[in-house]
């Protein structure tokens, strides 16, 4: 195609029909934006983690770590004594909480041996001395260093005080070093502090413990050989030896399932854009049959007319994809915080996306996808259009699409049904867990089912509606409704294409809403069942989000001395501690409990299968020859074990063999949660810290009084008593954090759906202007014409909504009951959010009516002869 022809026949047309093509463009843009944003965020999640790791690791070639729990400092001597080790630099990481604007914020505190650390990590301070007086810094255990940007955020300068909450309570620290925002100071998005290791461990309850040992090898030492030697030296202690890359790779594996789910949503968004383009192309072709026939008559070959339509679509695709790229980057920025919060909640650890990392390949892929989907959406309609009968089209005699097609549709419906059943069986068989390529097969089958079963459903519904309308009371309204239905059924291909786009986009919204609703309902239900005590003592922050400060168990006697606590079987309070660590190649959570009062045992654990409460109590909390534990259903699924099996967990004191006594519901970790007695935990992990104490009151009606007294009494140590209601609120916040990002995706999907609907209805009406002229000329009034258009709009959007509901319900049922348990390890009860779904569908119908109103005004505003002369 020459530039002249392109400019005149393609660009000018796009500019003249700017509303219609603008809607299509936006539909493409939003779909591509969502896809790109998800690719960027998935990549940025891993990159941010990798960069933070590298910044913290600095020059270290290897690191000793557990990936969760702290380990004894005795390990340091073993590492230092290993042949080939030049420096072994200990590191402790803690979470430091501070109060700002009435809320508790936190940052990562690195506790380092400042005398040795310079050999590994770099700290810059504008060319001046790092610390004004190094001896003062080291000799004062309250000394603290912060990055420059962070000090500005907190409004601090040298020698400013900063109050932090640690394991031993509230403490005041003094800023004695400001770091340039570079090197280690940029780790974790700059939300980092540096303290000397000794004072830091004291503050954060990690005396005698370490979190990492960074290793600098001697010159000329083979790093791989050193790694092997260290592994051998530290075997059986539950420790890992690896490079920064290994940890990043492990992290990537951990978040894979979540990222796959996000990617799937991104692909669905592209599919919706595809249907929007198909809609536009089909209607554009339908209204230009005469124009295309004229071009053919004037000498445009089939190839050229095919090319013309493709160029039009590619022009739209280029503009839409370009806009989508811009929106995608903006959307990624917007969703950064939500995704970080969601990941942190789901994996119960701090995961921060501190910057958007946009790779050229993501941009190219998103752009190419936009163009490709436009190209593919146009191929078949354009090919068909280029082969139409020139003479028939010049005479404006369009084919009756309803003739001779029903046989073809029947076999498509069969194939669609088979595809749906095949997808269901594949999901059930969980082949995708063993062979990830099957995820793609399942998705492809779902799409085939939708594309071929969907139209059959549409036919069925329209046929049913026709029969119902046919039996209605005679009159003009019935006639108009029947005419509207007849129009839609006659233009079968266009109707199906219109409805399908709507089905996919509304279906996406329904699936996301249902997953949200099911997860929320299940998780909150679980919280309500297991968080039953009158009060929970914790530090400030979000306990359930693992964003609160752990504290020493030494405080227990002071707590139990408070009057008003209920005692049962000698138990006034019981503590819980939970940690994440690597087990069997994945991250799991261990929850360590003190024995609760016997009558509350089954309140603490949401037992699915296992022995009696008495038996559980005896096995887990009464010391015996064997160690027993409960495990979450996700643990059993992940590791393929059953009740009664013995498992081995590598602790920092050596291997711990545990017999699985029962299974429980727990949403804390996708890979599994193990419930242990805290006595066993302390023995093997040598960790006396706790996350919370649970307690009940003799007189629950005096809860407010007790809480007020408690908060006053324990303010100095940074502890508070949370009511059951307050903890559930924290739980709700955790769930909102985990799923907050889906709101943006739902909104995008709704926008795409609505764009598609408006575009569909607008072009559908405008493509039949002459037909409306004919109706006016034979006596139809303006109001009848308006009603006809509105009937079609309501029927299209209503049928689309209904079919979307059917597909959305079926697909989301599968996701919640089969796919999500597989991907996230969470067993879920299916909860369908009827109210939300009906709102969205209702919105779709309202938008349908509005979308039909505007073109109907256009049609009724002209005389019949003007309409009949209209070339569309």
């Amino acid at each position: 195609m020459t530039l002249d022809l392109w400019r005149r026949l393609v660009v000018r047309r796009v500019v003249e029909k700017k509303l219609r093509f603008g809607l299509t463009l936006l539909g493409i843009a939003v779909g591509i934006a969502l896809f790109l944003a998800i690719q960027i965020l998935n990549h940025s999640t891993v990159q941010s983690f990798r960069q933070s790791l590298e910044r913290v690791s600095g020059q270290a070639a290897l690191t000793v770590y557990t990936g969760g729990a702290s380990f004894s400092e005795e390990v340091l001597a073993k590492v230092e004594g290993t042949e080939g080790v030049k420096y072994a630099i200990p590191l402790v990481e803690a979470r430091a909480f501070y109060e700002a604007d009435g809320q508790f914020q936190s940052f990562t505190m690195l506790c380092v041996d400042l005398l040795k650390d310079g050999g590994v990590r770099s700290y810059q301070s504008g060319g001046r001395d790092l610390i004004e007086d190094p001896l003062v810094f080291l000799n004062q255990p309250d000394s603290l260093m912060l990055p420059r940007a962070f000090t500005r955020k907190l409004g601090l300068e040298m020698e400013s005080p900063l109050e932090l909450f640690g394991a031993t309570g509230r403490k005041r620290f003094t800023l004695r070093g400001i770091l340039d925002d570079d090197g280690a100071a940029k780790a974790y998005g700059g939300g980092i502090g540096i303290m000397d290791i000794d004072g830091c461990r004291q503050t954060f309850g990690k005396v005698g413990l370490l979190d990492k040992i960074d290793i600098v090898p001697k010159e000329g030492v083979d790093v791989a050989a050193l790694e092997a030697r260290l592994r051998s030296e530290l075997d059986g202690l539950g420790l890992k030896v690896g490079r920064a890359n290994d940890q990043a790779a492990a992290f990537e594996v951990m978040v894979t399932a979540f990222q796959k789910m996000l990617s799937f949503i991104g692909w669905l968004a592209v599919l919706v854009s595809f249907f929007i383009v198909t809609d536009t192309v089909q209607v554009a072709i339908a209204e230009r049959t005469k124009e295309i026939a004229t071009l053919r008559a004037l000498g445009a070959s089939r190839r050229r007319s095919f090319g013309l339509l493709l160029w039009e679509s590619l022009t739209l695709g280029t503009l839409g994809s370009a806009l989508g790229l811009l929106l995608g980057v903006l959307l990624a920025h917007k969703l950064m915080g939500e995704i970080s919060a969601s990941l942190s909640t789901q994996f119960v650890r701090d995961i921060e996306i501190d910057a958007i990392h946009v790779e050229f390949r993501h941009v190219v892929m998103a752009f190419a996808l936009g163009l490709t989907s436009c190209f593919v959406a146009t191929l078949v309609p354009a090919w068909k259009a280029s082969r139409r009968d020139i003479v028939q089209d010049l005479r404006n005699r369009t084919e009756d699409e309803s003739s001779g097609r029903s046989g073809g549709d029947a076999w498509k419906a069969v194939v669609g049904t088979v595809a749906f059943v095949a997808m269901a069986l594949l999901v059930r068989a969980r082949w995708s867990a063993r062979w990830p390529a099957f995820y793609g097969v399942e998705a492809a089958l779902a799409i085939v089912a939708l594309i071929w079963l969907g139209p059959a459903l549409v036919d069925l519904v329209l046929g049913g509606l026709s029969r119902v309308v046919g039996r209605g009371p005679p009159g003009r309204t019935r006639f108009l409704a029947a005419l509207a239905l007849d129009n839609l059924r006659r233009n079968r291909e266009r109707t199906k294409s219109n409805v399908l786009g709507l089905v996919v986009s509304l279906g996406l919204v329904i699936v996301i809403s249902t997953i949200n609703a099911s997860a929320r309902s299940n998780i909150m239900g679980w919280f309500r069942k297991t968080l039953h005590s009158d009060l929970v003592v914790s530090s400030y922050g979000n306990l359930l989000n693992n964003r609160s400060q752990v504290f020493s168990e030494d405080i227990r006697s002071r707590i139990e001395a408070m009057p008003g606590l209920k005692e049962e079987a000698g138990i006034k309070t019981y503590a819980v501690r939970w940690i994440n660590f690597e087990h069997g190649g994945v991250d799991i959570t261990v929850k360590a409990f003190d024995p609760p009062p016997p009558s509350h045992l089954l309140d603490v654990f949401d037992l699915i299968e296992g022995p009696s409460a008495k038996e559980i109590y005896r096995k887990i909390f009464v010391p015996g020859d064997r160690v027993y534990a409960l495990a979450s259903s996700s643990y059993f699924r992940t590791f393929g074990v059953k009740i009664g099996d013995e498992i081995e967990i590598r602790t920092t004191s050596g291997p711990l063999r545990i017999v699985l006594a029962g299974s429980v519901v727990d949403y804390a970790s996708p890979n599994g949660v193990v419930y242990l007695s805290r006595e066993v935990y302390r023995k093997y992990w040598k960790d006396p810290l706790v996350a919370a104490y649970f307690m009940n009151l003799e007189n629950p009606s005096r809860l407010a009084d007790f809480k007020a007294r408690f908060d006053r009494e324990f303010f100095d140590v940074g502890l508070q008593a949370l009511s059951n209601h307050a903890v559930l609120e924290q739980g709700e916040k955790s769930v909102n954090d985990a799923f907050g990002f889906t709101r943006a995706i739902e909104l995008s999907a709704v926008l795409v759906a609505l764009f598609g609907l408006v575009n569909t209805l607008f072009v559908s009406v405008l493509g039949r202007i002459r037909e409306f002229g004919m109706l006016r000329s034979v006596g139809s009034s303006k109001s009848q014409l308006r009603k006809l258009v509105l009937f079609e709009a309501v029927i299209l959007s209503g049928v689309g909504a209904f079919v979307a509901l059917c597909f959305g319900y079926a697909l989301s049922r599968f996701w919640v009951l089969e796919s999500l348990p597989e991907m996230l390890g969470w067993p879920l009860r299916f909860v369908f959010p009827y109210a939300s779904v009906l709102k969205v569908l209702g919105l779709g119908i309202v938008v349908g009516i509005v979308s039909g109103w505007a073109p109907s005004r256009l049609v009724t505003g002209r005389s019949p002869t003007e309409l009949m002369r209209e070339d569309g």
């Binding site: 022809l5 071009l295 008559a297 004037l298 000498g299 070959s301």
Partner: protein, 227 residues
């Protein structure tokens, strides 16, 4: 030089409508020479438009042969036929069939733009033709800004832009008033007389047919008079 521009030999064409087979042309022979203005007349369904479309390569005959400038077009591929229509034919339709997004100048230039030429190459010729059609003041106007007669004159100019040997007109005055019809028909006649182009026009209007140099009547898919 052979002056026969179009020759139809034993041309047959039938259609299937539902379950009925309908014969539109039943062995038609026709010749049109340079400078001839031949009018095809007949009732609706007589096959006149079908013959026109077959000569223009818009459809293929079921039997017989059609030669244009001595070349049989019956066996042409789509690419070949399309090129043939761009370069050797000019079409004028009843309802003008102008492209709504193009102005008068661009509509006229369209066949040559489809041939791959640039606007700069075609513009001069297109302007001349429009001036000749007395539309020199309407070059930038789009079809929805032109009257029926003006649109038909633009269509006529378009039909001439490639200097075709043959102009096919399908009821060119069907949508025009009598005065405008006379103008268009006079222009067509002058093309035959002055330029020597062969014109084959379908009409059901006796007055329009009187502008032709030869009248051919069709009935039931056959010529009622000898060519």
């Amino acid at each position: 030089m052979n002056s026969v521009v179009v020759e139809a030999r034993g041309v047959r064409k039938s259609y299937v409508q539902g379950e009925t087979r309908f014969t539109a042309l039943d062995g038609v022979d026709l010749r049109v020479s340079r400078g001839e203005f031949v009018c095809l007349m007949g009732k609706s369904g007589s096959g006149k438009s079908t013959l026109l479309h077959l000569v223009g390569g818009l459809e293929k005959p079921d039997g017989g042969e059609i030669l244009v400038e001595g070349q049989s077009i019956s066996g042409f591929s789509d690419e070949h036929l399309s090129r043939f229509r761009r370069t050797r034919l000019g079409f004028v339709f009843q309802f003008f069939n102008l492209i709504p997004t193009l102005n008068a100048l661009e509509n006229v230039a369209l066949p040559r733009l489809l041939e791959g030429e640039g606007m700069a190459q075609v513009e001069t010729k297109a302007r001349e033709l429009l001036k000749r059609m007395d539309l020199g003041h309407r070059l930038e106007h789009k079809p929805n800004q032109l009257s029926g007669g003006e649109m038909q004159r633009v269509a006529l100019a378009r039909a001439l832009v490639s200097d075709p040997a043959l102009i096919l007109a399908d009821e060119p005055t069907g949508a025009l008033d009598s005065k405008t019809s006379d103008t268009v028909l006079t222009l067509l006649r002058s093309l035959a007389v002055e330029n020597g182009q062969a014109i084959l026009m379908v009409t059901h209007d006796n007055k329009a047919a009187s502008f032709g140099s030869r009248l051919v009547r069709m009935q039931d898919g056959r010529l009622a008079e000898t060519p």
